[in-house]
């Protein structure tokens, strides 16, 4: 990265965040001749794809059957092939409505002037507060997943999982694969939240999924040693006498994610609250154009979904940016975006997808009602 005070970098398209959405946006734009700079604060690109060791869903065109980390490798290869410039170890600390970005590599600060911007900053894990929740080895389920699948270190051998969404179920199974014992998965709601296929794998291994249950307390010293769980009523109040003490040395919290949208707020985007999408999400149109002209959003920052949909949103944003830079003919770009929209629609079908589809439609309606 360029050093020294007052230095300004220029790029046609700046993409913030090199996860699945950002990589796909960058690849699509670069493929169409856009000069793309992809920026990420981490040492490696790929976002959270490299800790996804399960096979993805969807159809063949969604790369179903391929494991997340393999998709990560494919995207990195494409990014290189099409000449995407990648700035790693670089934090974007500022996003301004005049399409300027503030960058820092920890040593110096640089301002980047971009003609167009895609924000694909992803999400962060929600937490849950209960007595003792700050003890070491009570961590996000995604954190445990990073530890076992990327760092190859097992942080605990007797595990309690809080939350039965896809993340909780997948991480429970991946902890088993890594050699841990999963004591139980607890779920505050009356039914399992994640896909049946993930839940079945857990149940087949003999792991109890306790619905209408929550964690009430954790005990420990330099690390967690015990958890108290209890049955809860319809108002989520623990039922006296239903408490059980479990010996555990790792508690994974899997109670959802929220968009990591600080840069979008900073730039002054319009937002809407959509609980199905993880909270406040930036308004966007069907091409992922945000309320600020020239800035697109894609992936979890635009509403929590999955890596597969993040990739399609990234492609939409990348093509839309290429069209607005006159790098691709409007009709051709439109066709390519229609294809991406069809693939996205297919990912939002069925009992698990309908809510997300409705929420996304509301976001788009609100965009046009601005």
């Amino acid at each position: 990265m360029a050093r020294g005070k007052g230095l300004t970098m220029k790029t046609e398209l700046a993409v913030i965040g090199a996860g699945p959405a950002g990589l796909c946006a960058a690849i699509e734009a670069a493929k169409n001749g856009v000069d793309v700079t992809l920026i990420d604060e981490n040492r490696t690109a790929g976002g959270q794809l490299f800790k996804q060791i399960h096979r993805f869903f969807g159809s063949e065109e969604h790369l179903a059957g391929i494991r997340g980390f393999e998709i990560g490798d494919m995207l990195l290869e494409d990014a290189e092939k099409y000449g995407v410039k990648v700035l790693l170890d670089t934090v974007v600390w500022g996003l301004f409505p005049d399409l300027k970005l503030g960058l820092s590599d920890g040593k110096s600060v640089t301002i980047m002037e971009a003609q167009k911007i895609v924000v694909s900053t992803g999400a962060s894990e929600n937490s849950l507060s209960f007595t003792g929740w700050t003890l070491p080895n009570i961590m996000g389920a995604g954190a445990a997943q990073t530890m076992v699948n990327v760092q190859r270190v097992l942080p605990g051998e007797k595990v309690l999982i809080i939350g039965s969404g896809n993340v909780g179920l997948i991480v429970a199974f991946q902890l088993l694969q890594a050699g841990a014992e999963v004591v139980a998965v607890v779920e505050a709601l009356p039914e399992v939240r994640g896909y049946q296929v993930h839940a079945s794998k857990i149940v087949r291994m003999g792991i109890p999924i306790l619905t209408n249950h929550t964690i009430t307390r954790a005990e420990g010293d330099t690390r967690v040693r015990q958890a108290e769980i209890a049955q809860i009523d319809a108002q989520f109040k623990p039922l006296a006498g239903s408490e059980t003490i479990l010996d555990v040395d790792l508690i994974c919290i899997a109670v959802g994610l929220r968009p990591l949208a600080e840069l979008c707020w900073m730039a002054g985007m319009e937002f809407e609250y959509e609980p199905q999408l993880g909270g406040f999400v930036p308004l966007h149109d069907e091409s992922m154009q945000s309320s600020i002209d020239g800035i697109w959003v894609a992936g979890d920052v635009a509403g929590i979904e999955e890596a597969s949909s993040a990739m399609e949103e990234g492609r939409l944003a990348g093509v839309a940016a290429a069209v607005s830079l006159d790098k691709i003919e409007r009709k051709l770009g439109g066709e390519s975006m229609d294809q991406a929209r069809l693939r996205l629609r297919a990912l939002r079908l069925g009992p698990y997808g309908d809510n997300r589809q409705e929420s996304k439609e509301r976001i788009i309606q609100r965009y046009y009602a601005m």
């Binding site: 070491p136 996000g140 995604g142 954190a143 270190v153 097992l154 942080p155």
Partner: protein, 106 residues
Amino acid sequence: MRIKEHPILGKLPEANEVTLVVDGKKIKAYEGEMISAALIASGIYTFRYTSKKKEPRGVFCAIGRCTDCVMEVNGRPNVRTCVTPVEDNMVINTQKGLGVWHGGRG
């Protein structure tokens, strides 16, 4: 515990061994891994104590967002151990409160 054999990921790739000095004691680590992973593999789970209540804290997000896992590394406090790779002879200390800065850049 390091996961040497994994049903999907296979054998743990070979990496050069390095030595870390953690609170004065030497531990082994491997090039390419993050400080937090090396510590957990060596059975260390508490990375710092909070300022007021002196409560123990460890890894929470493991991707550099929450700053719960910060420690003093080579004389510099508030280093996110989950996104900082190990280096040979790195000096790492449990951080108490805001920690002590010895003028280094980590």
